[in-house]
Each structure stands twice: as structure tokens, then as C-alpha cells.
Subunit: 359 residues, 2 copies
């Protein structure tokens, strides 16, 4: 493992990974999930289940904004803060022009940086957010994203009313929003010791690996796993190489939403390079639904998939020290109906966030 | 004027402005403009004029990607670098899922952070890029954006073939891409002195002001100036307040694309708060076209408008010390056809970048 200080000028060339000298802390998180997600295997872990897919609104898009607004407010209050304490909000979503985020957070009046990395957005917003905190530009940043099954289908494929049939390689866009509050300061060693043995572990963001656009020439919008697996491969490989570690360095390597098809491709690609992740690999899209009961085919997807799995499930497992070191790698397929219908490929991108418990 | 050191923890509450301790330097820039832009008042300032609106491609979107790819490569080579020297690329565009950027920079293989702030994107990418550089996470960052008249009309309003009539409040989306390379190091004092009197000034990014989503309830997609003026007002006011300065502190306060309608609104809004910017205000959208000859109505707009005006015109004026301190405020209207057609408002956002010549 390389030196733990921030990479210095001149040593950066070629490296995609930033390793923090003063790793920021996740001091609050929130997961607001849809009804179907609440009925899935991770249902018990989510902070809130929204039974009404419209969230009391008139359109799918407004519903997603409402979900996202709830997750934002909940994450902030879970961190014991108010919106005024958050210096910057970094977030985005799948909808064109990030309307779920814009309308969802408008009333919080937090200076906002909109980001887009398709379903890798939670990784990107956490990467940017943690760099802003560690760089000394903000005490506290809110990183957030969301997705909504109906809004995503309408935008990217077919409106639900068409009753289009979904192939088995297709994934099911998760309805939900996840958010984390990233802070320059967490609890001190003394405060943590005072919690005693039953206390929660404190999760830090130790570093981030920024992904490149990866394009293996795949053109199937119904097989996003295959589009994204090369990007996950590229980013995970870069992370392992930059840190000089083996996959077993992590308790789990967690991708966002490769699903069952993408999973096999990723494991194979990394195996070709001598990295075996089969023992400690997990995909949020595979965990979030039960395909036998929920008819979700290859798994869950969407920005919300990795976001609520992180905020609801992974962080809780880390707090209880079931896992102490996670490589969280949300994966995005840069699918656009315009470029897709013009015959272009669907490139992918993935950003990795190194999460680690304070000892 | 407040202390010049980076704002410390605890003093950040409520402040939207980050003022850098070690201001990064713009070491390279590029502006690639369309034919119409090349025929406008600023035509002589652009690095390249692309005579073919299709850039030799088959679709408007591919054309925009080509423009953006050219600007990226040119900015990097103007800085005397190759793509491998750039640690991160921060950029985005108006097209859904940022396809102009994704496909435009794919072959450069630079780790990428996609951002979206509508036409404020150049401000956002420079703000994020300069924080990443000043925070020590990257030696060199490329900040980039683009827009294309035909692609934007097709996406946001009507395909050109429909021959829709444009109201006088409408602006004309600029075809062009602008990029800057932001570096932790520029020339030393000795190197600059060696240039003698005829040497170019060195432009630094002294700080940034991150905007909030601002929504005055305007719903007219053909009057983007009115949608964005409140956001420009909010961000400029925050900047002046955070720095404790009067508008005359800047040689010019430059908005992105408010156009003739938005200009008047902005000046009035700030005047109500006791700030008179009428003497030193400039809008890239007003400068870039000659409405009498070019039939552009209220002015130019689009991410590319402020980007090529900055990279082509403003930086050249600064290099020649015509201007020494600029507040560059690209302005974005968060217009989505989906939310718009569902009866929602068009909120705005604006991010400000403080540009200053080394003495």
C-alpha cells in the first residue's frame, strides 16, 4: 500500500486515485425507497418506504423530486444539522437537465453543483463532495442522487402505458433517493471510546478513483450491465493498481447496478488481469430485488439503486463493523435516446469511493 | 475586502464564496466557434471558426462532439501539454446525458467529472476544476463546455425543419466550444519579468461563488433571459457581499447569456439592493452577435456562448491588460422539455469565477 498522504504534484501523472490525508467522515445518511424496493431483500434497511409511487404528486418527475427532497432533509437531520449548515450540495439524477434534483432541493437554498454520471452519480457526487471537504472548501457537503422507475422508463425506453416487454438482460430502475452528509470532522477518539463496545463505527472516505469514459462498442439499451461492466473493470483495476493492493484488501467491492449479466463480465475482465474479485464482490442491483418473486430480470439499476443501498444497507453494515473497508463503485451507462437512436454506442463510466471504518 | 486566505472552518456558514490562498492559473485556452459566431463582432478573437455546421459529421450531436473535441485538444496543446498531463476533465453540455461531452472527449482518456448547470456550465466546471487544483488533488484540470444551435433547438424547442418563428425575447444558441486548462503553477515572477513590457499578463482564478437554484416562477422557454436574471442577481450579490466590495472592484462583471431582456432585469434587481453595475456590466450573449445584421433577437445563449467569449475574447483582453479583474458569471436556465410541458417553472442558476491578472 502506498504512502497515505495526499498525492503530491508531479506524482499524479497517470494516477486516477486521490488518497486523502485527512479523510472526511460520513456523519449522516438517508435512504428513501419506493414500495417495490421496500418489499425487496433490503427493505428492512431503508429509512423510509414511500408507498405511493406518485408521492402525492401529479407527475413521475415531481414524484422523484419529492423523494429526493425527503432524502436530502432526512440526511441533514440525521446528521443533526439544518440546511444552513451545509455549504454545498453536489448531486444529480437521470432525468434530462437534472430536474429531479433541481426541483427537489430548490427550497433548501443550498449552493449547488449539479453533476451527471448516469447511474455512477452517487460515486461522482461523493467524490467531488469529499474533495471539496478535504480541500478545505466546505465543512459539510451533501451528496445526493435519485431515480424513479416510471420516469426513467418514460425517458429512456417506453412509457409504462405502452406495456412493452422487457428482455431478460434488462434491469429495473430503482425508485428511491439516497444522500450522505460528508464532514471534515467526525467524532473524536474519546467520543467514540465513550460509546463503548456497542457503539457505531465511524465511516471515513479515505479516497476516490475518478473514472474514464469506457466504450466497448455495445449498443444494447436493454443490456446496460454489459455497457457498464467495462467501466467498472477500468475503475476497479485503476484503484487496485494505484493503491498497490489485491482485491482482498477490501471486505467488499461493491458495484452500482451491473446486474447478473454485467457481474459475470466484470469478474471475467478482472480475472484476465490477474485480479480475482469473485469472493468479495457484490452488486447493489443484484442485492436490492429478488428476481424470482419481483420479476426484475437482471437486477436493479438507476442512480437510486447504489445510493439507497449505500445509505440504507452498506453504511449500516459498516457501522456494525460487519464490514470495515468497502470499495463503492457506482456504475453509469451514458445512454441517451438521441445518440442511441442515431446509432451510437452506450459508453460507460464508474467512479470509486474508498470507505473505511475508523479503528 | 476580506482576508485573502482560504475561508476557515466555522466562518463558512452562509458564505457562497471560496477565496483561494494559492489561486490557480489559466495556462491554456481554446475557442472553437461556428460560422455565424465567426461572422459576429467577436469573430476575430476565436481560435478556430468551423465553417461547416455539421463539422463533417452526420448529426448535429456528433457535430457538437467534434467541436468540443477540437476545443479540448487545442486548449491542451495551447498550454504546451498532452492529454496525459491533464489529471481530470470537468465538463458538460446542454444535451441530455451530456452526450456532446462524453463522445467528444472519449478518445482523450482523461478521468472525467460530468457537470450540468445548463448555460452556467463553464462557470461550474471552472469552479470545480479550480477547487480541485487548489485543493491539491490535481496539477492540471481541463474545464470545458459546448453548445450547438441546431442540436439545442431540436432538444429544447422545435427542430429547425419546422421553421418555427422565434419571438423577440428569444436568444440564439451559440455553436461553439470553449475550454481552459487550470494549473496549480503558472510562470514565476522572474519568467514574467523576462517577457518585458510586451509580455502577456497571467490570469489567475482568485475565487469562486457557487450559485443557488433561483426560481422567480417564470415559465417562458422563449425568454430565458428573464428566467436567468434572478440567478445572476443572487450570485453577483453574494459575491459582492462575501468579498465586501462594490461593483467597481471589478473592471467588468460579465454574465453568460442574459441577452437584452435579462440585462435590464439584472441591473434593476441589483440597483434595488444598492449595487450599480450599469457602468461595468457586460453580457457575452449581447457581445457575440450583431442583432441588426444577424437576426439573433435578444442575443446569444447556450453553454458555448460564455465559454468561447471567455476563452477567445475576455482572456485575450486580460492578457493585454485591457482588463485586470473580471467577475465571470455564466448563467443557466434549468429548462427541461419534460418539466416545462408539465407546467413547471424554469429555475435558474449562476456560478461566478473571479479572474485576476498577476500584478
Amino acid at each position: 500500500m502506498k504512502s497515505e498522504k495526499k498525492q503530491e504534484t508531479g506524482k499524479q501523472r497517470g494516477s486516477q486515485t486521490v488518497y486523502f490525508k485527512n479523510p472526511p467522515v460520513i456523519i449522516g445518511a438517508a435512504s428513501v425507497a419506493g414500495k417495490k424496493e421496500g418489499e425487496g431483500p433490503l427493505g428492512a434497511f431503508f429509512d423510509q418506504i414511500e408507498e405511493d409511487p406518485m408521492c402525492g404528486k401529479e407527475t413521475w418527475e415531481e414524484a422523484e423530486s419529492a423523494l429526493l427532497g425527503k432524502a436530502a432533509s432526512l440526511a441533514i437531520s440525521n446528521a443533526g444539522l439544518t440546511a444552513k449548515d451545509i455549504r454545498f450540495l453536489v448531486g444529480g439524477d437521470l432525468l434530462g437537465q437534472l430536474i429531479a434534483t433541481s426541483f427537489g432541493v430548490e427550497n433548501l437554498e443550498i449552493p449547488m453543483l449539479g453533476v451527471y454520471g448516469a447511474c455512477s452519480t452517487m460515486g461522482e457526487s461523493m467524490a467531488v463532495g469529499s474533495m471539496l471537504v478535504e480541500g478545505g472548501f466546505a465543512d459539510k457537503v451533501l451528496a445526493i442522487t435519485s431515480s424513479h422507475f416510471a420516469g426513467a422508463e418514460k425517458q429512456f425506453r417506453f412509457p409504462l402505458d405502452y406495456g412493452a416487454q422487457r428482455p431478460l438482460a434488462a434491469t429495473w430502475t430503482v425508485t428511491g433517493s439516497g444522500a450522505v452528509v460528508i464532514s471534515s470532522k467526525g467524532m473524536t477518539k474519546e467520543e467514540r471510546d465513550a460509546q463503548g463496545e456497542g457503539g457505531f463505527a465511524q465511516v471515513r472516505i479515505k479516497g476516490v478513483t475518478i473514472g474514464k469514459i469506457t466504450d466497448f462498442g455495445i449498443k444494447d439499451s436493454m443490456n446496460m450491465g454489459a455497457c457498464m461492466a467495462p467501466a467498472a473493470y477500468d475503475t476497479i483495476k485503476a484503484n487496485l493498481k494505484d493503491l498497490g493492493v489485491e482485491p482482498s484488501y477490501y471486505d467488499k467491492i461493491v458495484t452500482g447496478d451491473l446486474g447478473l449479466v454485467g457481474k459475470d463480465i466484470l469478474i471475467d475482465l478482472l480475472r484476465n488481469d490477474g485480479y480475482d474479485i469473485s469472493e468479495n464482490y457484490m452488486d447493489c442491483g443484484i442485492e436490492i430485488f429478488d428476481p424470482d418473486v419481483q420479476d426484475t430480470h437482471a437486477g436493479g439499476s438507476g442512480c437510486g439503486c447504489s445510493a439507497i443501498t449505500l445509505a440504507g444497507y452498506i453504511l449500516r453494515k459498516m457501522h456494525k463493523r460487519v464490514w470495515n473497508r468497502i470499495l463503492f463503485v457506482p456504475t453509469g451507462a451514458l445512454l441517451s435516446t438521441v445518440s442511441f437512436n442515431e446509432g451510437q454506442t452506450v459508453p460507460g463510466i464508474a467512479h470509486a469511493v474508498i470507505l473505511e471504518n475508523d479503528i
